[in-house]
């Protein structure tokens, strides 16, 4: 008891208050000493504010009868509530565009997401350094081909009169050849596989970087335990890059409904419209070219809301299942 009382006496409240122990004080002291490091995030912050946050006020256009030159907030603004959304949802093709977008993106994701992981794991297991580097360059070179050139190549190969068309005729297939660019069924495979061919090597880089961080001693220990190469991929490599995979998956899910319109537009023909008209091409043709900026923005906003919803769901699920998440 006496000991305790002694301690209590030495502890005066005044002394406590003088010491810079509150979080705020600590932060201030820390900032004084190392605050300049924060300057490094300044360019990124400015970029995000200028290009991501400031333009966001444009969302208001979705609730207006807007045309360029109008003030977005001002006396001349014509507010029309949710009319643009109603116009968009009442489009008889709305569900078709929605399904097309969803299928194109989800199928692209199912094929495109695991591919770089597999490639990275395989590349990582290649023994010869030279072969590994060579393959890596070979895989990511297509990434640098521009979209227009890529679609040009696709047309040379798969359009009527193209290589595949000619080959199928010569090989005694359908006398009329394979007009893949006119076929709604061929659009998705062409789009997805060409996109993955172009990007699987590039996307594998981030996994390769994660794999290079795997402690070699883990592999050695596994080897001693008699693990095969295949076993080591599953038991050492894959768990090591799991957080990266989860992170990238959440990010991809957040972009699941945005396939981009440029390549789709370039590949669109009157024949494949049944599958190639998606929300973003609708926003482009109806909103930008047709001058219906309000409806276009409403459609774009609808797409973004779905993306945010998917992002939150993916994050929540991943946290529940694996404990990894972004926020």
């Amino acid at each position: 008891m006496a000991e305790k009382a002694l301690v209590d006496e030495s502890f005066s409240p005044e002394q406590f208050e003088e010491k810079p122990h509150s979080k705020w004080e600590e932060w201030k002291a820390n900032f004084k000493r190392r605050g300049w490091i924060l300057l490094f995030i300044l360019p990124a912050l400015i970029y995000v504010i200028i290009f991501c946050y400031i333009p966001m006020y444009g969302i208001l256009v979705a609730f207006q009868n807007y045309m360029p030159g109008d003030q977005i907030i001002g006396a001349s603004t014509q507010w029309i509530g949710f009319n643009n959304f109603l116009t968009f949802f009442s489009n008889p093709n709305f569900w078709e565009y929605f399904t097309n977008t969803f299928l194109l993106c989800i199928l692209g994701f199912i094929v495109g997401f695991p591919l770089p992981i597999i490639v990275a794991l395989l590349l990582n297991s290649v023994r010869s350094h030279k072969v590994k580097k060579g393959l890596q360059i070979l895989f990511y070179a297509p990434h640098f081909i521009s979209l227009v050139v890529l679609v040009g190549m696709l047309r040379l190969l798969f359009d009527s009169g193209g290589l595949i068309d000619q080959l199928s005729i010569r090989l005694g297939g359908d006398a009329n050849g394979l007009k893949l660019f006119l076929s709604p069924e061929a659009f998705r495979p062409l789009f997805i596989f060409s996109g993955n061919w172009q990007d699987f090597g590039w996307s594998a880089i981030i996994y390769l970087a994660a794999l290079s961080g795997v402690d070699p001693s883990l592999h050695e220990a596994a080897k001693i335990d008699g693990a095969s190469r295949f076993r080591r991929i599953f038991s050492v490599d894959l768990p090591a890059i799991a957080p990266t995979i989860v992170m990238l998956m959440i990010l991809s899910v957040g972009n699941l409904m945005s396939c981009g319109y440029e390549k789709v537009l370039l590949m669109q023909t009157p024949g494949n419209l049944a599958t190639s008209e998606i929300l973003s091409t609708y926003v482009y043709t109806f909103g930008l070219i047709g001058g219906q900026y309000g409806v276009g923005t409403a459609a774009g906003l609808f797409n973004s809301v779905i993306n945010v919803g998917l992002l939150v769901i993916a994050n929540f699920t991943s946290k529940k299942i694996s404990g990894n998440g972004m926020f």
Partner: protein, 544 residues
Amino acid sequence: MKKLIIGISVALVWLVASAAFAVLGTNQNTSGDGFVVLTVKEDSVKDYNTMPVFKDLANETGIDVKWIYNTSAQYSNNTDPVGIKGIDAIYHSGFSNLKLYDYGRRGRIVAIDQYLSSMPNFKKILDERKDILEALKSPDGHIYSLPRVEEMGLKAYPNILYLNKKWVKKLIDENKLPAGLTLTEADLKDGLDLSRNEFKGILQQFYANDMDGDGSTSNEVPLSFVTGNWQGNEADLIASFGLPENREHKTIIEDKVTFTFTDEKWFNAVRELATWFNSKLIKATSYTQGDNDFLAKGQDGRYGSFYWWEKNTVLSKELRDDYVIVLPLRNDDDIDPETGKGRRYVGVSNEQEIEKGECVILETCQDKEGLLSYFDKFFEPIYSAQLNYGSIKSGAFLPEKVNGKLIPNDDHGNQSADDFRMKNAPYGVVYLTEKVWEESVEMESRAKQRLEDLKNYVKPYSYENAKAIPNLNYTQDELVTLNVYESSLSNNVKSWYVTSVTNGGIPSKESWQNFLNTNKGSIEKVLEINQAAYDRYLAATQDK
């Protein structure tokens, strides 16, 4: 540390400064007297400021106009051309009905009808021609743009079928004409009379044989067209099944706005086209190519037959005599008991001879009366003709009139008539009507030739009671509804049609009926709005 801060500050200053310059850079220099008019033209077209016709206009009116220009690519990238600083008007604005109305009711472009007192020519036109007045009115009753009126009667029938007579002659010589068809060399002249099945038989021979004699049978194109193009499309081939088809599948029959694709004859035509496609008589390129690709291929003589509105632009000089005009194909399923032969039909296109949106005046213009009185001169025949074909002083017309009429000069040295016109004619706001052609301006010889061809080989077979849809005047609600339903419907029709023809099978009746059922709502809405607008048009143009 200091260096880092300096570095970042310099980068920031540079960013802000370049953004500021970019904003300032879009402002044009507006100093000086006179008007500045933005026009949309390609680099290959001569500078309007040096064109004699504009110099004459300046001398006559005493009004000084400085022309600045955007190429069509630059112009289409500008989402708000009306917002360009320092210009008074936009020539070749190309604004749609909705855009004119949207700009007009925001007070950003001028309601021209309020200045008719300074525009005697335009006022006279509107007084005389109720159809033009109706066509130009926006939903609020105002006129926001100056029109282009070029009435030659050429646009209604934009497809003529041409056949390679050299190839047919080869078939005759080699005894390879399809069974049942007898043709002699003497028959191979303009106005060749064929039924659809006979024509198909000829195309089959074109496909099966090495017609151009290069040792290969694979590069011949039996029949070519550009689907959905305003000219040279396959509408008349479909029309041969007995319906007034045009590229929009929309026409007026006995004052009723009608869709052709809801007619069973249209479905039968699609089935037949699919068999033509499957037998390679029509290549897939007809459904994917643009007009440039189409024209390029015509130059090497690979076409057995093609649809276009004339043959000279399609064929190189040495090939032009090898092709003859085929009369609209006879319908083998609809035999006229009197002649014992199939009947012939062609549809009427909806291409307008009255185009709105050619020129708009901006609200910021300081002297609207002045500028409009200048543009009013464009409607006089002497200026309309020069704007449409090139200045007299640059050699588009002969220097002297004959019987009070301007006579076009056909001799342009090494240049083709098309090239000369492309470089020298500003086009745009003109008023060239039947009366003008009769009294003041002689038509170009090639236009006369085309009219003659149409008169002899196409017009007599026009579907009875079918009319083109005129420029209709919609209310704002109708415009908005049409915008949604018509664009999606036309997408769906295009998609069903092209897929059905090109997917290698033959479309079933069930698939066509499903397609109609799915689009029933849109079809009804679009027809209802168009019918209402057309009824109003009839009331407005007939009463007065």
